[in-house]
Amino acid sequence: MARTDFGPPDYQELIPPIIKENYGNWKYHTVPRPGVLRHVSYSGAVLHSVRVASPRLVSSDWVRDICNIAEKYCDGYLRFTTRNNVEFLVADESKLQPLLTELDDKDFLIGGVGVSISNIVHTQGWIHCKSAVTDASGLTKSIMDQMTDYFTGKVKVPARLRIAVACCVNMCGACHCSDISIVGIHRTIPRVNDEMASRVCEIPNTIAACPTGAIRPNPKVKSVIINPEKCMMCGNCTAVCPAIKIMDPVNDGVSIWVGGKVSNARTAPMFSRLAIPFIPNEPPRWTTVTEAVRNLVDVWRTNAREGERMGEWINRIGWERFFKLADIPFTDKHLDDFTYAKTTFRSTTQFKF
């Protein structure tokens, strides 16, 4: 019997000596250049962290590439960030510039620190998820190709901007609280293969899986019927009964959401809100999506005040002004009609024409 339940490796054995020595004793940090953090300890110790972009989906060769670099400049120590960037931890300041030079030479993108657009947090998409409506990796690559200058700090932005991509309405990856989110959506109700359902699905479970009560039994064929008036296309039933299919390559696509955040700084965390209800899937480069994201970033960048995140900016100017500035049509899709819809209605005459 193999060993079980021993947990991950102890971080104590994975952190560099400078961190062990100054653990809990850091005093402040500066950002001497984009992509580089300089942490100063109360002891006087100085640690540089150099952050580079990662495609997240990587090969073992890439892993060895970054190991080579870490060994050369960082005594083999490195880490990853919560947004899937890589950080090289430089204890010896004399190695900083040579590291930066090598990273540049090898086309690593240095950036994503502080006031910038960081790496996209995203889901598996067609690469490995069974409910993927779109390909998260392809969207991410296509969008980030346009955001490189904001990642590396070549172009300044008013505040942090965090983008997330989810391949379905499960919205994995904090899509519900990101400055910009791209989310795969269905627009047609699921189809039931009655013959298959009668064989492989538990009818009561399938009915219970529907959050809106849209599924009722179809006893004649030992299957179920979906009420199109009530179905909100969440796909929950397809997870319970494989005879129900919701994938629809012709009508599936992506939606874009804006203004969410998780930080408590200045303002409370906020949900992302619908900006663009639907854009068709356009592999391999999703040109309409990337242009829409580019437009959103640029409208924010040129209009927001220094320090205003996307949602804070929109809250100050109002959604009516946002839709006008971003040149996005406001439609019935933007009106909430789910459980807490009423709480989104505007109960004041305070608005802009």
């Binding site: 100017i317 959604w319 009106l335 009609d337 505007r346 005459t349």
Partner: protein, 397 residues
């Protein structure tokens, strides 16, 4: 008249505020029903409970409403309030009266009722408090002679009411009194003959200060506003500042959208017009210097109501801007569409706001022919459960 002892209520004749007990006693001195009201109320104060009960429907000829039937649950003890019905008399717009008219009403009510009034009831009516079933029709006839008609009750359009508006307020963006007058005349049938799922209230406030509490207390609120830039008299601004008015803390910092700046060099107040949400605050603070704009109309809000049953609502924006000029055709057409849809789909005792909550805002807007607008919400949806109609998408791939 038989004077009953009311030691508990007598306590409410103490203190500086005018006493309703004193008023009941004044009426009781010459009216037996007022005297029994006092006595029954004293019993309520003793036992901590009310003594009014369900009763049959009462009214006057030709009307389905306007009278609220009320019966004592203790008719043996308080025989003169065995029947103690209320007239809802439709108040004049803006609650303006002449002494002459008021005296006439007072005389009628001394003759046919208790001599007690509510000036005014919650909805705005002039309430004549307490009479018998027998006296209803002759009293109504006398009121009509004097020029007064009844207001609404039950599942009807309720008596419309408004703020004082252009009669005496420099902030009035619309003629609230004329609007109420014209609409009241237009909706006489809807007011007097209940035919809807529940009550329906319209109130008009001539500016966003909403002195008529329209957004909280009416199913359809009409609130005056303007859509150009507010007017500034820079001399008057300077005069206020020179007089010690703290423009920075009282005005600049309180502007909800940071639309105002004080240029201390030029000594001028500056506004970024496109940022103004016409909230009234700066105008309220500096009434001599700042004035409402010139392109005036109203914002309509739908759904305001108190909690029973599904929870309170403050009306939400339905029409950001509508011109409100006689004969108010566009407004009346919209009201017809709203009440038709509600009458078709509403359950018993379901207010229009609750129906919209149940059916969805989009369905409602489609039914009444309005486009969705960002002004209707404080933010778009955050959940991904967008409803797509079959006709909007292709067939399955």
């Amino acid at each position: 008249m038989d004077e009953k002892k009311t030691p508990l209520l007598d306590e409410l004749e103490k203190g500086d505020w005018p006493s309703f007990v004193t008023e009941i006693k004044r009426a009781a001195a010459k009216n037996a029903s007022a005297a029994d009201l006092l006595a029954q109320l004293e019993t309520s104060y003793e036992n901590k409970e009310g003594y009014w009960k369900h009763g049959g429907i009462v009214g006057v000829k030709g009307y389905g409403g306007g009278v609220v039937g009320r019966y004592s649950s203790q008719p043996e003890k308080f025989p003169h309030v065995r029947e103690f019905h209320t007239f809802r008399v439709n108040q004049p717009a803006g609650f303006f009266y002449t002494a002459e008219k008021l005296r006439q009403v007072a005389a009628i009510w001394d003759q046919y009722g208790s001599g007690l009034f509510n000036l005014h009831g919650s909805t705005g009516d002039c309430i004549l408090l307490g009479t018998t079933t027998e006296n209803l029709q002759p009293c109504y006839d006398a009121l009509t002679e004097c020029g007064f008609d009844l207001g609404g009750s039950g599942s009807a359009m309720r008596t419309l009411s408004c703020c004082v508006g252009q009669a005496r307020c420099e902030k009035a963006c619309i003629d609230s009194m004329n609007i109420i007058r014209e609409l009241t005349l237009h909706y006489q049938d809807a007011i007097h003959r209940p035919a809807w799922p529940y009550k329906f209230k319209i109130k008009v406030s001539a500016c966003p200060n909403d002195c008529a509490a329209a957004s909280a207390r009416s199913d359809l609120a009409v609130i005056g506003t303007w859509r150009d830039v507010l007017e500034m008299d820079q001399d008057a601004v300077r005069e206020a500042v020179d007089g010690g008015f703290d423009i920075f803390n009282r005005v600049i910092r309180k502007c909800p959208t940071e639309a105002l700046e004080w240029d201390s060099g030029k000594r001028e107040l500056k506004i970024t017009a496109e940022d103004c949400v016409h909230c009234m605050h700066c105008i309220n603070m500096m009434p001599k210097a700042l004035h409402i704009g010139r392109e005036r109309g109203a914002t309509l809000l739908i759904g305001g109501k108190a909690p029973v049953v599904k929870g309170a609502m403050i009306g939400w924006v339905l029409v950001p801007f509508i011109k409100m000029e006689p004969p108010y055709t566009e407004f009346k057409d919209l009201v017809d569409k709203i009440t038709d849809w509600w009458a078709d789909h509403g359950k018993n005792r379901e207010r229009v706001g609750e129906l919209i909550e149940r059916m969805g805002l989009s369905a409602f807007l489609e039914a009444v022919g309005l486009e969705p607008l960002p002004q209707m919400v404080h933010a778009p949806r955050s959940n991904p459960y967008i409803f797509w109609k079959a006709e909007e998408v292709g067939s399955h791939g």
